[in-house]
């Protein structure tokens, strides 16, 4: 037996691409997909890239494929929406080298804005989709996907979910084999130029291809039958297979490793051998509806299995095991929730605080700053999709009166701005919107765990490259130079002044935060500042500092009662604030928010922000 290694689903997909001889991979970070591309950088034979967005990643992978390489584009489920335009036509042209699109779905929305079921894309685009149920299959199916792609002249989708991407299980490793095919572009206009006349012909080709893929699905080794007790036959696949095996240890199983197209004959044979048919699948009734359309009766499907959220052994046991009850917690009280929070010293905090103080309606976007919608900041009122902040702000400004226009801003992170914010900003300028855009430049794609992007100055492998200058870019799009402002967000007074000035101006304004990298970006921050402290003789317990929602600042009700103030008078308070020196990195925000100088630094001067290692290469 070969030695096994524990790999996450994402590590296994990267390994599978390497073993399959892939030469190119591109991606935009997004949970739960990000580690696929990060892991690919360890293989020097593969050119791995972060792209500005998923469509760019997809198109680059298409180009590498066109040049004869095996190529992969990986992204989270909502990223496929961004890449859908080239994808829906790539399915018409087919491939030269093998092409695999990895979609990492996020049932339960652990870190997403929706929980769409991307199995529908396979049917929509008429392409095969493989769906692994553990890391071994994640690796094996990735290799198989490249083979199917070349055999059937089709892009192939590989779908994972969070519990596959981020779970580890044992994998047998193999060597890399590169397909024996020369690299080079091929001239074939009827295949690769999708003029209507050519595309009309290609449509017929892909319908015929789908018929051949259905035949292939009948014998695909990833579609497996395990016959045991025939009173119940479970049709399932992916992570749902693992949960169902826990709950129905003695049932017969048809496990679909290929989610689309379905092996109709195999399904029919299985159904005829069992008394009752259970279809166990997460999210939508995708298999259920397609199997019903074949004319079969399904006894248990979405009539009993939930449509929303993840499945789990617990959920299935509650439905199918009459003896199972979710245990009651031995603790009767309510456990205080512990949601993720903006870090101590986070540069977003000041911006959100100032916008709230100015009572502005804030269109937010996708990033850590979306957490600013939660209490105590509550400084965000809309957030839809990548780049939507600027887009919706433009439209809203066109129907609102001047006063309301001035009471609204949009905020977007640097990575998100480069992903999908440039064209909506262009739209603002083009249509003369009275609107203010705030770009929260923290020098990195922070929420997904610090990935480089075209504004950071580094590639995925850490190689230096050009960095976008947001102010110059805004100018080039047509924003007038006096409406482009760069401001240190840790300086609350200056930030407040700039926000007030720009929101009262006519035309489109762009405010860019400067010298404010993510506090977790170690290459940028030279050192933390000295932690601040609360002077117990001065703090009146006004709670103003607590409005920042900083994890380092706490309320100590034990300090309630009378106290002698610094001026000698005896006063009363309900408690006071204290600062945890372990968590405080001395960003200086609470020092500025405290109006009675109860918060102090150990040094005389409290800096507004951090000392940085290296200025970004922008003016």
């Amino acid at each position: 037996m070969k030695k096994k290694t524990l790999l996450s689903g994402n590590e296994a997909i990267a390994r599978g691409a390497w073993e399959a001889g892939a030469l190119f991979a591109s991606s935009y970070p997004g949970t739960p997909s990000s580690e696929i591309l990060e892991n690919l950088t360890q293989y020097e034979e593969i050119k791995a890239e972060w792209a500005p967005n998923e469509k760019d990643a997809f198109m680059s992978a298409m180009g590498a494929m066109l040049a004869g390489a095996r190529a992969m584009a990986s992204m989270k489920h909502v990223g496929v929406n961004v890449a859908a335009d080239p994808f829906m036509t790539l399915t018409y042209t087919g491939v030269n080298g093998g092409f695999v699109l990895v979609t990492a779905d996020d049932p339960e929305l652990h870190s997403s804005q929706n929980e769409q079921d991307n199995r529908h894309y396979a049917r929509f685009a008429k392409v095969p989709m493989l769906e692994p149920s553990d890391s071994q299959e994640a690796k094996d199916f990735t290799k198989k996907a490249f083979e199917i792609s070349e055999t059937f002249d089709t892009p192939v989708m590989l779908r994972t979910v969070t519990r596959i991407s981020h779970s580890k299980s044992p994998v047998e490793l193999d060597e890399r084999t590169v397909p024996d095919r020369p690299l080079g572009l091929v001239k074939d206009e009827a295949k690769y130029v999708m003029l209507p006349a050519y595309a009309r012909e290609r449509h017929k080709v892909i319908e015929e291809r789908l018929v051949r893929l259905k035949t292939f699905a009948e014998t695909f080794e990833g579609n497996t039958v395990e016959m045991k007790d025939t009173s119940v036959g479970v049709i399932t696949g992916g992570i749902s297979y693992q949960y169902a095996k826990e709950i129905f240890p003695n049932a017969s199983f048809l496990k679909l490793g290929m989610s689309w197209p379905l092996p109709e004959k195999k399904i029919g044979e299985f159904i005829h051998k069992v008394d009752k048919v259970y279809v166990i699948e997460e999210l939508d009734p995708f298999w259920e509806e397609n199997i019903r359309a074949m004319g079969y009766t399904i006894d248990v499907g979405k009539n009993r299995v939930p449509l929303c959220g993840e499945l789990s052994p617990t959920i299935l046991a509650e439905i199918f095991d009459p003896d199972y009850r979710v245990p009651e917690s031995a603790y009767a009280g309510m456990v205080p929730p512990r949601p993720p929070n903006l870090c101590a010293g986070c540069p977003h905090r000041a911006v959100l605080y100032v916008l709230k103080k100015n009572k502005l309606y804030v269109h937010g976007d996708i990033g850590c700053y979306t957490l600013g919608a939660l209490p105590p900041l509550r400084a965000m009122s809309s957030s839809f999709s990548m780049g939507s902040s600027i887009g919706v702000c433009e439209g809203a400004s066109q129907v609102l009166d001047e006063e309301a226009q001035g009471k609204m801003v949009c905020v977007i992170g640097d990575s998100t701005f480069l992903h999908s914010g440039i064209t909506p900003l262009l739209n603002m300028v083009f249509n003369k919107a009275n609107a203010t855009v705030i770009i929260l430049d923290n020098w990195i794609t922070a929420m997904t765990g610090a990935q480089e992007h075209p504004g950071t100055g580094y590639t995925v492998t850490g190689e230096e490259t050009t960095a976008v200058d947001y102010a110059e870019l805004a100018k080039a799009l047509g924003v007038v130079p006096e409406n482009i402002r760069r401001v240190n967000p840790y300086n609350i007074g200056e930030l407040d002044k700039v926000v007030k000035e720009e929101t009262s101006k006519k035309g489109t304004s762009v405010i860019i935060t400067k010298d404010a990298p993510c506090v977790l970006l170690r290459r940028a921050i030279k050192a933390n500042n000295e932690p601040l402290y609360v002077d117990e003789a001065v703090c009146t317990g006004c709670r103003r500092c607590l409005e920042l929602g900083c994890p380092a600042i706490s309320w100590d009700a034990g300090k309630a009662g009378e106290y002698q103030a610094a001026d000698g008078k005896v006063k009363k308070r309900k408690g006071q604030s204290w600062i945890d020196a372990m968590l405080c990195n001395g960003c200086g925000l609470c020092y500025q928010v405290c109006q009675i100088e109860a918060i102090r630094g150990r040094k005389t001067e409290v800096p507004f922000g951090f000392q940085l290692n290296k200025k970004k290469t922008v003016s």
């Binding site: 981020h166 044992p170 031995a330 949601p339 993720p340 929070n341 870090c343």
Partner: protein, 196 residues
Amino acid sequence: MNSKVTNILVAGVGGQGVILASDVMADTFLEAGYDVKKSEVHGMAQRGGSVSSHIRFGKKVYSPIIKMGEVDYLCTMERMETLRWLNYCNKFTVILVDDIEVNPPIVNLGDMEYPQDIEKTLRNNFKSVHIIPATTIAAGLGTERAANVVLSGALSRLLDIDQEQWLKSLLAHLPEKLHELNKKAFLAGREALSNF
């Protein structure tokens, strides 16, 4: 080999080393010849958020996540976090807790109180509860950050797994300059449990 699957749930607060401790466990059980699955959720800004990791090992493991009520060992790196996972436990669940409190924001703001009766709840409902000063022990060795390793050391005493293998897996995850400290932390955890 026993066909029963052993279920371990490790929980704590973002930044405490829950993921590292569970990665080491998973490697250890694989090296010991078992089938292993491990699952956790990352993404979002998990700093300061609640974090948990499921580790399951046995002859054959299907689901990477544990059914509620079937945790055999619950290891929590913060007192209150123990309460969050009690409905994953049964009365035979062995509970190991690091004896420290980290306030969540809602407690910091004074809007909710930190639960007061944790130890009583645990002792009244579970047969085997070990409250270990893991952070204090780790701080004594040089860094609080090794509390996760102290707790892992304590757990290792309860499982029929070769401790040398566990140590080997642990050190493979760490840079060499941290080897000596973490070895001490692991052994101190084993020692701490024997004091019960």
